[in-house]
Amino acid sequence: MNGSISISNLNVWFESNHALKNVNLNIGKNEITAIIGPSGCGKSTFIRCLNRMNDIIPKCKVEGRIEVDGEDINDPRMDVVEVRRRIGMVFQKPNPFPKSIHENIAYAPRLHGMEQGRTDMRSEPKTRKYTKKEIDELVEWSLKRAVLWDEVKERMNKSAYNLSGGQQQRLCIARALAVKPEIMLFDEPCSALDPIATAKIEDLLVDLKKDYTVVIVTHNMQQAARVADRTAFFYLGELIEFGETEQIFEKPQQKLTEQYITGRMG
């Protein structure tokens, strides 16, 4: 299992709007890569390409190679369900299912079953059904990993909507972790949360990178500066600069990057 992503010549169109122009990027494994840029620069579009969520949008056209573990996920022969299983996503607004906490997490593993040997992403892997005990253990493991177990272990059967915003978002993270992905994508995960909840999630991200490759889109530059190993700056659909976070924030190479991070843009 590798977990690095190699993006070459990625172009995305929404009808006639050229939303992403020739993006080339290499995302390292077990690293946190942050995507920053002003509104409308294409960062959400970019991250949604990485797990083919843009397929849901009817007017969207994607071209280019996105290689994960050497396989191009844009290849029409790829099983998109398998792609999405290996590359999990957490969204901007916490979106737990209106079910119990336990059900939220158990849903996906129950759907897929336990993998028996990882195969490529072209086909469904062989799986067997989880037993109830395994499901319970998996739920507990996911919640512990997302640092939520202690707060909810007494109310696993209560609705997820009773949790606070930060707790709901950690629930969504736990839910994504339960299918054992290799790569985790976060689309502005803290933008709807208060500073304390944000800090908890940032700590969680740094912990997650030990086992997963993390890509996070954020409009909060300080957040990128705090947690990311490498940062990519997008502007009007193009990748302007990509490098170590320290370098981007102390000595950016491109004038546009400097303008953006010092707040002198727009």
Binding site: F249, K251, M265
Partner: protein
């Protein structure tokens, strides 16, 4: 990005700049006055220098707080961060310059009252160089000109050389005539202070280089080989080893 907070930030940066420039101007004044005081034996300048030193000291505290406020509230990055950190470091150097200027004028009484060293050995020349260096260092900060910062290092070498020469000359004279020891020590002290001021000016230049380019200067560029010092021991007219001709100035 809220435009309003960046406007406030820009204002703060400008104010910071002005404050540091003002402090630099004061330091300039202080060293000039100190040198005039000692060389031209002008007693009125001593309290002036001391007053300037006090002002420089309190200004350093004000500016330091100001820098920390900017960092805490506005989280500067990239070139802004370099500017603020440069300000923080430069004020230390400027404060030291002010302090040394004040130290220099402490020797005024001794040196003014003594004719042992008819013409201060090389002090004039050194003082002129050093005043020029301080001026150039502060100008390079105000104008954000890294090149003139670079040129400071050559003159620092010259100042170091002059200091060495002075030191040896004065020690020689002190050995020859023990009555000159008090005055001689003070001359050495003044030389030393001038040499230190030159070093601090170079520090300022180094910081300006970093602020503008983001690179650090190679330390080897700073210190040339001390052994190749070519300054002459300037002959002092009327001082050919006899202790009776000190009347002549």
């Amino acid at each position: 990005m809220k435009m309003t907070s960046r406007l406030v930030f820009q204002n703060e940066l400008e104010k910071l700049n002005e404050e540091v420039a003002r402090m630099a101007g004061l330091a300039n004044q202080a060293i000039e006055a100190a040198v005039r005081c000692i060389v031209d034996k002008d007693a009125r300048l001593k309290p002036e220098v001391e007053r300037l030193d006090r002002e420089i000291y309190s200004l350093e505290q004000v500016i330091e707080k100001h820098c920390l406020d900017v960092i805490a509230l506005h989280t500067p990055v990239a070139s802004d961060l370099r500017t603020v950190s440069t300000c923080l470091k430069i004020i230390t150097d400027l404060n030291r310059i002010g302090r040394y200027a004040s130290d220099i004028v402490e020797s005024y009484e001794v040196l003014a009252g003594s004719n042992d060293f008819a013409r201060m050995v090389n002090i004039d020349h050194m003082a002129e160089l050093v005043v020029g260096m301080v001026t150039d260092a502060t100008q390079s900060f105000i104008k954000r000109d890294p090149e003139s910062a670079r040129q400071l290092f050559e003159r620092d070498d010259e100042v170091d050389c002059l200091y060495d020469t002075n030191f040896r000359a004065v020690v020689t004279y002190m050995i020859e005539d023990p009555r000159k020891i008090t005055a001689g020590t003070h001359i050495i002290l003044v030389s030393r202070y001038l040499e230190r001021i030159a070093d601090h000016s170079c520090n300022i230049g180094e910081r300006v280089w970093y602020m503008v380019t983001g690179e650090r200067l190679n330390p080897k560029d700073r210190k040339k080989d001390r052994g190749s010092c070519n300054a002459d021991i300037r002959e002092i007219p009327g001082y050919g080893g006899s202790s009776h001709e000190l009347e002549e100035k």
